[in-house]
């Protein structure tokens, strides 16, 4: 019985108001910052971003340069050791941050645009359009996405753009389903009907009225998507299906996979970089989830 009366209802019932008017996003931000794990994730993620932006400038060494003997253990000259060609692992990890993040983020943006557009249109218009778009989505869902992405990259030249598109076009389906569900739910609310009564066009209803209300769960899903995309890209790189002129973390692991037992450092450090970045993003996503969840707000 007691779950019937949760904290927020109580607060609302007693007309509790924040001392000064607080915008919804401010309340969300406040919740986010009180979550230690989320702040840790955010700081970690910012460090990765800064490393990607400024790392190559500070550490001048090119990751493709031969820096010493092959397969050197970590020592003074090469703190994380060298790979089978004698390239420095540390500069690889530092240089790898930028392309890894760029691919992960652009591929996620690509998946987001496709997913939300299809989900929004399906949910908003419903009926036959919804039926068609959802069958289309299911078609993509039943294909194993890694295999599908491999086929795309294999058919075309593995360039940066193709890799981004391959990842984007194979990972949008969960976002489309989520966006559709949110649209179906929100379009029934009366404020949407009120906007229609004022003469608002469908495009306005979709973009200005419904989408902002559907964003919280989508933002969480998109954030988590970035983490999985990093892993997805690593998998493609590991199989050697990405642009050979770009040094990503996944590619480093892929190139060194034969030397794992002789030289653990060649795969461990790029692997840790992937692990931590994905972890930071997951922590951020979790923090956002709690922050957007109104039941936990105003604790």
């Amino acid at each position: 019985m007691s779950e019937m009366i949760d904290q927020q209802d109580l607060a609302a019932q007693f007309g509790e108001k924040p001392e000064k008017p607080e915008k919804p996003w401010q309340a969300t931000a406040r919740m986010f910052y009180t979550n230690k794990a989320a702040v840790f994730g955010l700081i970690g993620f910012l460090i990765v971003i800064l490393l990607g932006l400024f790392g190559p400038i500070i550490f001048g060494a090119d990751p493709f340069d031969i820096a010493g003997k092959p397969l050197m253990e970590p020592q003074d000259a090469n703190p994380l050791g060298t790979d089978y060609l004698g390239r420095d692992i540390l500069s690889g990890v530092i240089y790898g941050a930028r392309p890894t993040m760029i691919i992960a983020i652009t591929a996620t943006v690509c998946a987001t645009v496709i997913g939300i557009s299809i989900g929004a249109i399906a949910g908003f218009y419903g009926g036959k359009i919804d039926n068609f778009l959802m069958r289309f989505t299911e078609f993509f869902q039943v294909l194993p996405s890694l295999v599908f992405a491999m086929v795309i990259v294999a058919v075309f030249e593995p360039s940066f753009l193709i890799v981004v598109l391959a990842i984007g076009t194979t990972t949008w389906t969960p976002l489309a389903r989520l966006a559709r569900a949110e649209f179906l739910k929100i379009k029934e609310r009366e404020f949407v009907l009120a906007a229609r009564a004022l003469g608002a066009q469908n495009i306005r209803l979709i973009l200005r009225v419904i989408l902002p209300n559907a964003l919280p769960p989508l933002i969480i899903a998109i954030t988590l998507r970035v983490g999985t995309t990093i892993i997805f890209e690593a998998a493609l790189s590991f199989l050697g299906l990405t642009d050979p002129s770009i040094m990503t973390w996944g590619r480093m692991i892929g190139l060194s996979r034969d030397y794992f037992f002789e030289a653990w450092w060649t795969v461990t450090f790029p692997g840790l970089a992937i692990l931590f970045t994905a972890l930071f993003i997951a922590l951020i996503g979790d923090g956002l989830n709690d922050a957007f969840n109104p039941k936990l707000r105003r604790r």
Binding site: P21, L198, G199
Partner: protein, 326 residues
């Protein structure tokens, strides 16, 4: 030539086709509104009363073409609304507005109160930014909100204040006609009076015409000039306020009136109690739609549907009999 009636609705029908229960079944139809006719005189209020599922809200929405009618005629100030194209309808929307029941769900939680009230002006491209800002302030004063509340979000207002925001939004484009869909039933009693008084005052000051949809006969009696009682998608009785309460004719109207709780204990005896629930509008009864619950039901009622006819001057009823004398 200006007509006395601002709105006249003739044989309005809204039938929803439902999903087939299985592949070979015939497609069921929900008769939400099934041949409803009424007129509203300029500056007056018509009340549409009935219980849930009687089609009163669907009638209100379809009059504004927010739900597409499947049949009938809606003439608003001489214009047949059903014949209008998208652009003409958009233009017409300036003149007809709606206020919803639930002020919690009818305001976009992501917009400030000021933006909500400004929205109609932006959608209809009225004025420049400065004029729009002034109009919003004017509307806030009109409905009794403070100008400094413009920056607040809906969740920071009480129920009554939220309904004021809804009213301000509906008034933004200077409409002639407003559909009020249960505007006070979600509010606390003490707040209901505030909103009803506000609506009455605005109607007089701005010469508004209302279609007032409600299940609450006391509220309807208070605010409406003419009243139509609906049951399962059709009007069963229609007359002015005085006649309806003084001399209710249709058995359903009388049952409805006697079901309303009164404060006076003396009236508790001598009541008409309806048995059972409202039938499903998908399988509506044959003949008179009320015959399954009517205490005067005869054989004829099961087969023949009574038409809404003028039984006394200005007093319309859909019943085969004169049940008031029974």
């Amino acid at each position: 030539m200006t007509n006395k009636n601002l709105l006249s609705v003739e044989g309005l029908e809204v039938h929803f086709k439902l999903k087939r229960p299985h592949l070979f079944a015939s497609q069921p139809t929900l008769y939400a509104v099934d041949g409803v006719s009424f007129e509203i005189v300029r500056g007056q209020t018509l009340g549409l009363v009935g219980e849930s599922g009687c089609g009163k809200t669907t009638s209100g929405l379809s009059v504004l073409r927010l739900v597409e009618p499947t049949g009938g005629k809606i003439v608003f100030d001489g214009v047949d609304l059903r014949s209008l194209g998208a652009d003409a309808l958009l233009d017409m929307r300036k003149r007809m507005q709606i206020i919803f029941q639930d002020p919690y769900s009818s305001l976009n939680p992501r917009q400030t109160a000021g933006d909500i009230v400004k929205d109609p002006l932006l959608i209809q491209k009225v004025g420049n930014p400065k004029e729009r800002e002034e109009r919003v302030s004017e509307l806030f004063t009109l409905v009794g909100l403070q100008a400094n509340q413009k920056e607040l979000f809906p969740h920071q207002f009480s129920g009554g204040q939220r309904q004021r925001i809804c009213i301000a939004r509906a008034l933004a484009l200077n409409p002639d006609f407003i559909v009020c869909d249960e505007p006070v039933s979600a509010l606390d009693v003490a707040i209901q009076a505030q909103i009803l008084n506000l609506l009455c005052k605005l109607q007089e000051d701005l010469n508004l015409t209302f279609l007032f949809i409600s299940h609450d006969l006391a509220v309807v009696q208070h605010i409406c000039d003419e009243i139509a009682v609906m049951y399962l998608g059709a009007i069963v009785e229609k007359t002015n306020r005085k006649k309806l309460f003084n001399n209710p004719r249709h058995p359903y109207t009388r049952a409805l009136l006697s079901a309303v709780p009164t404060r006076r204990s003396s009236k508790k005896s001598n009541r008409i109690r309806l048995e059972g629930d409202i039938p499903n509008p998908v399988n509506r009864p044959s003949g008179c739609r009320f015959h399954t619950r009517c205490m005067y039901s005869q054989e004829q009622c099961k087969f023949e549907e009574p038409q809404l006819v003028e039984k006394q001057p200005g007093h319309w009823e859909a019943c085969h009999f004169e049940t008031t004398n029974l």
